[in-house]
Symmetry: C2
């Protein structure tokens, strides 16, 4: 259903300056998106790796304690080192303790701005760079939500302690205040609602449980955006193939006349990521009013099928403007792209 923008991809790694001269940019994807006045702001996930590893070596980017804070460094492994397992190109694992892991790339969050929503200028420096114990392996997959005039940034804080969700806030996309971990591991794909409902703030979140249960979408409630409770399971995997293995939240919630629109992702048994749509009740978002049975979009274009991780569409931000749904999405964990559809067509497909 999603019509690809002819100028896709919108942002590629070649458009982004690395944060260190000895690092290279592998991906610019999974961006949070917000309209701020005349500007469409993207907060890109920029994934970087060490540029100049010698043959027979793997060098990983890393955060290490430095004085009161943290700084980046690199660590070099020899690929003939029998103590480590290099079989997964995304990580280096200790053979003695499989929980001792280093990731081969590290992500930070970088601003890009556009007047027309399609031509983006990317900042030269990060807005939010990994800087604490919970971000040793990176900051990923930001969502932007304007609530009561401030722009909240929720993002995935990744470390050897687990994959958690952190919150930050900015008023100008220059200064950022970190507000701490709002969902303990293993929890990502958090999507905020842009206003209070029934007196509370709300979010979707996606626990990934170790024992029973599957990675699916839950909803929680908060008095202050910092402390969350009243957790409920909201939407699960379905028998239809495209969302049979796992699902998780995507874009920030969008208020429409039909309800709260959520663009989420569904994953099939072959790890192929498609986009889906959910509609939640305006007055009680714990009620699912409609769910699109087929994908809003699945990977078909070359930049969606081939990249860092193949066959991935993953949205962290969308806008509804002039009756049109504009879904910004990361494609194949490498580039940013845009797809649009008339809201009326979406409602018809959802039967509302």
């Amino acid at each position: 259903m999603l019509k690809r923008w002819p100028g896709n991809p919108l942002v590629t790694p070649e458009d982004v300056r690395p944060s260190r001269p000895d690092w290279k940019v592998d991906g610019t994807f999974n961006a949070g998106v917000a309209r701020i006045g005349d500007t469409v702001v993207m907060l890109l996930r920029v994934a970087e790796s060490v540029a100049d590893a010698a043959a027979g070596e793997v060098r990983v980017p890393l955060l290490e304690p430095h004085g009161e804070g943290w700084r980046t460094t690199t660590r070099t492994f020899r690929t003939d080192d029998p103590a480590h397992d290099f079989s997964d190109p995304r990580m280096v694992r200790s053979r003695a303790d499989p929980r001792e892991v280093h990731l081969t790339s590290m992500s930070h969050l970088r601003v890009a701005r556009s007047g027309n929503g399609t031509d983006f200028a990317v900042d030269d420096a990060p807005l939010l760079f990994p800087a604490d114990r919970y971000e040793r392996f990176g900051c990923e997959d930001a969502r932007l939500t304007v609530i009561e005039g401030r722009c909240y940034i929720n993002y995935t804080a990744v470390s050897d302690l687990g994959i958690a969700t952190a919150l930050a806030v900015t008023d100008d996309f220059t200064q950022v205040e970190r507000l701490g971990i709002i969902h303990a591991p293993d929890n990502r794909d958090v999507c905020l609602f842009p206003r209070r409902i029934a007196g509370s703030y709300w979010c979707l979140h996606r626990p990934a449980p170790l024992h029973l249960g599957a990675p699916e979408i839950w909803i929680a409630r908060s008095p202050d955006l910092i402390h969350w409770g009243e957790h409920r399971h909201l939407a699960g995997c379905m028998d239809r193939a495209w969302e049979s293995a796992k699902i998780g939240g995507g874009a920030q919630l969008i208020e429409t006349e039909k309800g709260w629109l959520q663009i989420y992702h569904g994953v099939d048994a072959d790890q192929r990521y498609s986009l889906g749509a959910l509609l939640l009740d305006l007055d009680d978002p714990r009620i699912v009013r409609a769910r699109l049975s087929r994908p809003l979009a699945s990977p078909v274009e070359d930049y969606e099928r081939h990249g860092f991780f193949p066959d991935v569409l993953f949205s962290c931000g969308a806008l509804v403007e002039g009756g049109e749904l504009r879904v910004y999405y990361g494609a194949a964990d490498r580039v940013m792209a845009l797809g649009t559809c008339a809201l009326a067509d979406l409602w018809a497909a959802m039967g509302v």
Copy 2:
């Protein structure tokens, strides 16, 4: 260090009436404990299974929707059914979808009372029986914490949606009010503090992440006991064998002159559960002041080594009275036992 009570075990399955005539009690263990006036109250986990399965059959207890609520039922599987896997005696798994699971036992929470802290009379009926979507497989491992004059019960709500932590409150151990899910899956071993510190309520919790990280102890903060945030990693596994595989919270927090005392559990590579002790700063419980390097106790007695699951000591409740630490603990997932030690000896062993 823990001196076993000569009258151990304190409570056994033989002391407890099943909740249905066709069910049997397999375990009475992992009880929360509180002193309420002259009475020591235990809230036992009572694990039950179906009594009368025929040869070649497995019958599982189950909650099913009934009208507006839920009721218990049983489901029978033939052990020669090729669609299901019966190799783990604790569960029946669908071979087509390993996430489709039934547990062979279901737990509820039952009150026992004692005037002297060692002779307990067990109620004939459950206090808190599984009754909602999040409790389809049972309610487990309660902790009792008296806060501002009310007794809060946090417990593990187990279902096919995951292992979550729920909160309830009672004033009389007759009526209970459920307060919902306070930690989404996979999260159990939650321990509350009995009063506000720096204006907030606090808890320890134990996320079990699917991807990175290990099952370890985190701490969180709340304005109201319902909504939790400001999550921080508090204590991890250690190189010493007895707590090398995982750790998790045990008893409710106990205020002492030296700090907040936490009796927790550590698990070794062979799934052997020992008891440990942590001391947290009185004014800022995010600071670990001391940690016992050796176990407070490890399974040695016959009732600790052999039961439903071998070699387990697991405390959900402890008291400090007259300079003595009294640790109530589940042994081998079957019975309740008591161990004591002089607080002065514990402080000496912890170096405080």
